[in-house]
Symmetry: C2
Subunit: 334 residues, 2 copies
DNA sequence: TTGTACGCGTTATCAA
DNA sequence: TTGATAACGCGTACAA
């Protein structure tokens, strides 16, 4: 069978490619019965031939790719590319008839100063979503700063062209919630290390502000440990004489081990120790709903896409940062 | 400045497009100093003009897209598209100079019998990775069965052209490990519901086989509950008089709540209750390493990509399923 | 409304 | 090696 291209459909129907093109793209206005009947036959033939428009050819002809690329770090833990975020991004893109290509960036490639991922070396998309990456290579930064491709920084605090959750508000909200529930001796804890993402300082700062505004003494701590001994380290921390009544944790990676540590010590949650955390979704790994300030990263993704499409339309124009507030989901741990 | 296309580079250098093309693609063999010097100037000009080859035009000219599409269900919990899997897929694709487009499939679209996602309605990639989707629409199945696009089913048990973890072996391995550690009264538990993925039956079956081979009585149970009350439901289950010494859990979504439930009851893990689970990665949400049969989904992804590339080369040829064994990672819960 | 002709940027062919 | 020229499949201005 002949290749399923517009030209072949046209020749088999004895019309021009332009006519087929018009019918398949739906720009046909004529409502006369004979015309409509012929349009139906053409559509039927196209379906029988398994015709699918070639997006690459379309991209070349239109001068735009109709897609967006996303770069994210390869290693887990760094740069949060959650399902919620990806759903938000893809959902919004679909509304604009665009699709997404994804590109992971291994740590070792970040080290090489001259390294450029293929998505930056070639032209394959109309814009770039750059999910937070610990330390971007100089070559990458240069490409982005020279505005070779419209870029929106995701989950990154920048002067412009970025979208990130309101981490300070999230820290504040979690703290306020615990204060309103009657807790007074409230600590803030981060177990382990994060490698310098701004949320680390912002959430802590939001916590501190809320405490001071309530006339309470803030107490923010970082418990040094790896991924395997979080529970043991937090248990030691809890065993200290000045155990708080409630804890705001940086994320569920601190909050959940903290809860397990509390249980191991025979403490009741929330009666002996209340826990609130900050996360993309309400953590349910423990089989119950932890009190959470849920960061609306799906919404962040949608807005980042809208911003990017705006930048594709008006390249070079700087857009104000989008800061997405979190929402409190009171759970079973406070 | 002129558009950064080969033609403009060529005219600015006073050579033909073919020459520029040859130099930039690295197929230049001539080692004469003058030639090399000119090549350097051309490369420099290309860089100065921010030249990036247009992948769409390349795709049209070459007749292949140089990319692969991945379809996954949109809703969490269904169809496991983990970071490990995506890393494996992208890593292997990069080795073949290909990239990935991703396409989520919302549940509501699965209901509509005639629905086709854009990635199937248009030609935009050389092959398809179809991550497990609860119930695929008839239209989608038809496109795939008519072999309009080379497809590999990921995490799906099919007669051919698929890659999935060896779930039966995983269930068996977890059980054998517990038996070797001296446990005898070992149960198998799944809390909640999964919607019919084959792993559900396979892991249970592997457990049952290992038990019978050891002369022990299998006891597989499903604890009905939602996502919020897993812990409470498992706690009730543990309070029954015939509490086992050890439990193989379907996944960490059962294993972790089970551990919390045990702790709430004052049970020690693993002395009073040992727990082993099956998962893409060792679950660390609890701050300790749970004993896990780790499914090597990154490897599965790599092999799925190799299989797909094979199918792109020889369309229509059926390839034997790839079944990837899991590995036991003894942790702190057994 | 319909068809012709050309452009999009690249790769590939074939003489020179 | 080099350069002219023709594909690739689709979109579109323009003329019929």
């Amino acid at each position: 069978m002949a290749d399923a291209i517009v030209e072949n459909i046209a020749s088999q129907m004895g019309v021009s490619a332009r006519t087929v093109q018009r019918i398949l793209s739906g720009e046909l206005k004529d409502k006369r019965p004979t015309i409509l009947e012929r349009a139906g036959r053409i559509r039927k033939l196209a379906a029988a031939m398994n015709y699918r428009p070639n997006m690459a050819a379309r991209a070349v002809a239109r001068g735009r790719f109709g897609c967006v690329s996303l770069i994210r770090p390869a290693s887990a833990g760094r740069g949060h590319y959650s399902r919620e975020l990806s759903n938000g991004i893809e959902e919004e893109l679909a509304l604009h008839d665009m699709y997404l290509t994804v590109h992971r960036l291994p740590d070792e490639q970040l080290q090489q100063p001259g390294f450029l991922p293929s998505v930056l070396r070639t032209a394959m998309s109309d814009g770039l979503l750059l999910n937070w990456v610990p330390a971007i290579s100089a070559a990458m930064r240069q490409v982005i700063e020279r505005e070779i491709i419209p870029t929106v920084w995701v989950n990154t605090k920048m002067p412009a062209d970025c979208a990130y959750p309101d981490d300070e508000q999230a820290g504040r909200l979690a703290t306020t919630h615990l204060i309103e529930r009657g807790y007074r001796r409230i600590a803030y804890v981060l177990a382990g290390d994060l490698g310098g993402h701004h949320s680390e300082a912002d959430r802590r700062q939001g916590y501190g502000a809320a405490m001071r505004e309530a006339g309470l003494a803030p107490r923010a701590e970082q418990v040094r440990c790896g991924t395997e001994d979080r529970c043991a380290a937090l248990r030691q921390w809890l065993e200290r004489s000045d155990r708080p009544e409630a804890v705001v944790t940086y994320s569920s990676a601190t909050g959940q081990p903290l809860m397990v540590a509390a249980l191991l010590l025979g403490l009741r949650v929330p009666q002996d120790l209340a826990i609130a955390t900050i996360e993309d979704r309400v953590p349910r790994d423990l089989g119950l709903a932890m009190t959470t300030v849920r960061l609306e990263v799906a919404e962040m993704g949608r807005q980042a896409v809208r911003m990017l499409i705006q930048k594709i339309k008006e390249p070079g124009k700087q857009l104000a940062p989008i800061i997405v507030p979190g929402v409190l989901e009171a759970g079973q741990t406070s």
